[in-house]
Structures are given as C-alpha cells and as structure tokens.
Symmetry: C2
Subunit: 396 residues, 2 copies
C-alpha cells in the first residue's frame, strides 16, 4: 500500500510538473534592471553610454563584476551524461534540471545563474569549451557529468581557470553527508576515529564522500562498487577507478585494515557503525542492518528509491535513517549547500573551492541543528539562516 | 560650439551610464517563474517532478522549447574583437554591449537573451565552441566580431547548426540601410536600377550592405575600402577581401561598368546619387557632396562621428541625410531589426536567416513610414508596430 500510494503521488507530481513547465515555457525569464523606453534611457543602457562602461572595464577603472550581471552569475553546465537517476539522456533533455538549480540559486540566495547544455561528452572538448566561455561568468557549477570524466574535468578547470569550479553531484552531496554524520555521532555517542563506515557506491558522490570523510578524520572507511570492496590492488593502476587510488591507500591503511581484504557488502556491513549508500534501490536488507554494530546509522541516498526504506531499516534496529527524499525525515539535500556556497564565493571573490572550505561548510550546516534528534540530524533548506551560514563559512 | 556642446553631453551620458551600471551591478537579472517556497513547490520545479520533464524531452513527448526557457532564448556571442567603435577590447570588456542587447530584446520583443563572452579569437575555436553550447539556445546572435573572420564564422555556423545564426553588425545594418533607401528613392523619384551608389567601407557592414542592395536589384554599386575602389582584380584570389569576389563580380558587371575602373572616393562620388558610409569620421567633404548628381542621398553611418555632419551635407546640397545617431533625423538603427527578427525566428521555428527574409524585413520596415519625408525615411524604434511587422515579415 505504501508503495502504491507513493507511485500514485509521483505520477501526480510528474504530470503537474510537466504541465507547469509547459505553461511557463520554462522556469525563468530575463528581467531588465534598466529601462529603455525612450532615447535618453537607451543612451544610458546601450549606445552611446555603454561604450564608456566597456572602456572603463578595458582600462581597469572598474572590474567587470561591478557593472555586468553575467560576471556575478553562475554557469550551470552539463553534458547530460548522468542526469538525476535517468542516466545519459543528453544535455538538451537535462536542461530542466539546470534551470531548476538556477531558480533555486535565485530564490534562496539571490544569485543569478544560467544553464549551459553541451553538445559534446568528450573530456578535452568539454574542458576547452568551458574555458572558452568562462569570461562570461563568475563561477562554474558542473552538473550531472558522469564519472570518471567528471573528476578530470573538475580538476583541470580548477587548475586552469581563475574562478571557482564546483561539481555539485560530488561535493554538494559529500558536504551534506558529513554535516549529517557530525550530528548523528552526537546522538549515538560515537567517535569519528573509531566508527566503522561502509560507503556503498563508487561513482562521483561516493568518491567525494570518501575523500571528505577521510579529510575530516574518519579513519575506518570501506568503499564498495558494484563488484565489491575497493582496495589498493583493485584501484591503483587500473584506469577506471584510478582516482580512488590515493584515498583508498589512506583509508585502507587506517585502523582496522582487515576491512579492505574482505569482498562483499554482506561481509563489510557486519559490525559496521554507519552505512552510506549512493548506489541503487533495495540493496540493503533488514538482515544486514541487524548484523551492524549497536545503534546503526543508515544514509540510504539512492533517489527516488533508497537502498532500504526507512521503515525497514528501523525494523532492523537502525537508530538514525537519512535519505535523499523530502517525504522522509533527514533529507540529505545538495540544495542545503550550493546556494550559500556560490553566494559566499561570488561575494568574497575567492577563486578556488578548497577542502578546508568544504569542511567548514559541513560544520556550519551541522551546527544549525542545535539539539540533534534521530529525526532531525540535518536542517531543512527552508530553515532560516542556512544560506547565510554557508556563505559565512565559505568566506571564513 | 556644436561640437563642444556634444562633447559635454557625451561626458555626461558616459558618467551617468557607468554610475547606473555600477548601481545595478549589470543590467538584468534572472527572475523565477515558478515558486520554490516549500517542499511541494520544490517537487514540481525541481526533483522529483523535473525528472518527468527531462524524460518527456528525451522521449520526444515534448520539445525542449515547450518547457525550457533557454531553448526559446538568444545567445548574444562576442569575441570582443570589434566592439562598437572601440576596436579589439576583448570579450569581457564587450559584455556591457551584449547585456544591452539582451535588455533591448526583452523590453521590445519579450525575448530572453543571454550574453556569452569568448576567451578565443580563433575562427575554428569560435565555431567549435559555439557548436558545443548550441543545444542551450534557440538562436545565435553573433556580435562585434571583426571582419573577415565574421564571414566564415557566420557562414559555417549557419550551415552546420540547425538553428538561426545572425551577425547583427552585418545584416542588421544592411536591412535598415535598405529600408531607408527604399523610402529615400520615393522622395527623390529615382529608380533602383539606374541610381549610382557609392559604398565607402568594406568591413562587415559594407559587405552585407553590398550583397543585400545587389539582391534587392540596385545595379550600379561602387565599393571602396581605405585603399580605394574594389574591383575583381583587387578582391578575387587575394585572401583578405576574397569574400567580396562574388558580389563585386556581379555589381561591377552591372550598368555603368567604368565605375569599377576608377580609384578614389573623389572620383567615385562624382555624379553618384547615393553615398553610404560605414567607414570613418569626416571622410566626406561638402565639395564631394556638391559633385554628386541632383538630390543627393547621404547615409553617413560612422558612429558616433559620421563621415559628414548632416548640417554640412545639407550645405553641400544633400536632399536626405541619415546617420547612426539618435540626436539627428533618420537614425539607421539595428535595433529596428533584431528584436522583431528573433521574435519571428523563435516563434516560427525557422532555422535559417535567408536573403529573401532580409529583403522582406527591409520592405516591412520601409512600409511603416506611410508618407516618407526627407526628415523621416525610417521609423523610430519607439514607433508602434515595428517589432510585430518585422516578426511577421520573418514568418511570411
């Protein structure tokens, strides 16, 4: 019954969403801030007056971001290769998601953003194209680009452009996961250096979560892809998972090293304290939860259908369950991060998103829940003060 | 005194324009059309509902332009190589002009547009970059790209993309010039097949004007660059002016063929009926106007300082004078064309800007002045009905 009801609601939401998008022919519009209703106004917004604005930028008398909208704006760029859970649907079909992020950035943080859908999925061409349009924007939000290409694209652009580049699917998710874990540990009274964490899913989000948790000081991390537990011999020098080499070397050498020599999720989950799923629906069973340490913490983030339904996880003994969904408690939602993050970046003029910045943002989000409970380890994006707290953490 | 007064006014406009751009930090903003103030609204504008919109595009159930803002939008793209009269100031410094066009498109035609400033001035890289971001947009407006690169860029993109591509500096100017000439001929009572036209300036605008007037049926066209009259031996097989080869072969073979064997502007202007300047300030003297045929027509379009001031041209006997400036009669203003043109293109879904379309738009603009006078051969962009008339001509 629960499942039928959910399907019914989803069909309803889907139909209404398509109808609303059709009604508005999209989700946003350009609004002029300077009137052009007569020759005098036109002479100020356009020629001849605008020539003086161009010259003032060229001479360095003003910075472009002082006088040009797009220089204070975020490009939300996708190649359409990994859109939501829909997969490689192409960039044009991904545009509604990009426009959704643009609307959220505006409504939550007052930041202007514009979607860019790319006609190529070639790593080098994507990098070159983004570098060629970069003078337009103040920051780059990469979105829904599949692994492992997303790692090289983000890293190269961060190195080669003098502006912030942020792949939300990686780091947005990782930051909110860390924020949630910080509060979850307070409730279950465990220590970051001794808890055993299983991360199931080694795509874009799984990689960023592993790196961020490791940087925060979690010691015992076991990461699995669809073929089983990752260890040094599986990922180093193998091409497709090479980007995991460094972090797996570090995490597998930490604490309970035997946890990298096992193979299956069933083995890994035994006596683990925390499960983080960024994988596929219904992968975690009640029995697996029962095999975990006392007071298990479950982050089942596959969306819309999680690795285990919260009701089943609780039946298995889970103390805290988080998902990606807004209709369950504890929604792990990237939108807690990116509006405030880009606000902080653009206002401060910082040109890189650093590891320290991501840790500070996670801590800032966690601290907004003053008395965490199993049903509230993470704020809602509608709670007051989120965007400003995140922006302050970015600037600090 | 006239010049001092103009300089004073210009300084004033420039200061006020820079101040206004600073005040607004640009000229436009993104405005959301769908609210996201609670989870229910967010589920429609963003996940999970937006996934259904993406899937509907992918499956072909809806077209992207039915549900995505940017697919009904115009990209206003520059490499900053020929911005206004300022020259090669770079793309970032050119952004205020691009944003000005975006504001005009919105305020006059209700069309959304977004500026794109390119980091490259290499022809092949520009073409590749624009093709790579093309899935984002409904139409491409190339802007302030220097000749001769602009010719190849526009031609290749028109051929290789299934969407309208329009270089406004070329064709916008040419269309308004033709519209003005159609009405000027009515006043002076001359025939398009017999009038002798001198086009001074062989850049982007000069080329498009020559082609469009030739296509309309003007027979005797003499074109000059800074070194003198163009003829077949000068332009065919020479590289830099090669794009003139075909049209010069045609025009020099028409009518009074001897006019392509002379060399200087002074020679060319003698007994000419019409002068069109897209060149440099103060190139045309009163004496040259006096040497023209009876009832001379002068289009002195160098901006802001024309080839000859209207007062001096009238002293030399000119019947009709047009310039690019709003403070003189008969402003030849691209903004008469591009808002209606893009409205017509986007609404009709036409994927090419054809010669026939440009001729139809010029005739439509000319016909809006019901009784042309020497002081009113062309409508003002603030006259009622311009945008709709142009859009109708595009669709016809």
């Amino acid at each position: 019954m629960q499942i039928c009801y959910t399907l019914y609601i989803m069909t309803d939401i889907n139909k209404e969403s398509v109808a609303l998008h059709k009604k508005h022919r999209g989700k946003f519009e350009i609004k002029s801030l300077m009137p052009v209703s007569n020759n005098e106004e036109l002479a100020l917004a356009y020629t001849p007056g605008v020539g003086a604005v161009c010259s003032a930028i060229e001479s360095g008398e003003v910075k472009a971001k002082e006088v040009v909208t797009s220089k204070n704006s975020v490009a939300i760029i996708t190649d359409g290769s990994a859109v939501l859970g829909l997969g490689n649907i192409g960039a044009e079909a991904g545009l509604p998601v990009m426009e959704g992020k643009a609307v959220i950035l505006k409504e939550f943080a007052g930041i202007n953003a514009y979607p860019i859908a790319l006609a190529t999925q070639d790593t080098e061409e994507i990098i070159k194209t983004i570098k060629n349009i970069a003078p337009t924007f103040g920051a780059i939000n990469l979105e829904d680009i599949s692994a492992p290409r997303c790692f090289e694209i983000e890293q190269r652009l961060s190195e080669e452009l003098d502006m912030p580049v942020f792949h939300d699917d990686q780091h947005g998710t990782a930051i909110v996961v860390l924020a949630g874990l910080i509060n979850a540990l307070k409730i279950v009274g465990k220590d970051k250096e001794s808890v055993k964490i299983v991360i199931n899913g080694a795509g874009a989000a799984g990689h960023a979560i592993t790196e961020l948790l490791n940087a925060y000081g979690f010691k015992v991390l076991t990461v699995l892809d669809s073929k089983g537990v990752l260890n040094e011999s599986k990922v180093c020098g193998t091409g497709n998972k090479e980007h995991f080499c460094e972090v797996i070397k570090s995490t597998c050498a930490n604490g309970d090293t035997g946890r990298c020599d096992i193979s299956t999720l069933e083995e890994a989950i035994k006596s683990a304290d925390i499960f983080i799923g960024v994988s596929a629906p219904n992968i975690l069973t009640k029995e697996m939860v029962q095999s975990m340490s006392d007071e298990p913490v479950i982050f089942a983030l596959a969306n819309p259908n999680p690795e285990i339904l919260p009701s089943l996880a609780h039946e298995g003994g889970a103390t805290i369950v988080a998902t990606g969904r807004s209709d369950f408690a504890n929604q792990i939602n990237n939108a807690l991060v990116f509006p405030g993050l880009f606000k902080g970046l653009l206002e401060s003029g910082k040109s890189k998103v650093t590891m320290q910045m991501k840790l500070s943002v996670a801590e800032a989000i966690a601290s907004l829940v003053q008395s965490p409970t199993p049903e509230k380890i993470i704020p809602s994006m509608f709670d007051d003060g989120i965007v400003d707290a995140v922006a302050r953490a970015v600037k600090s």
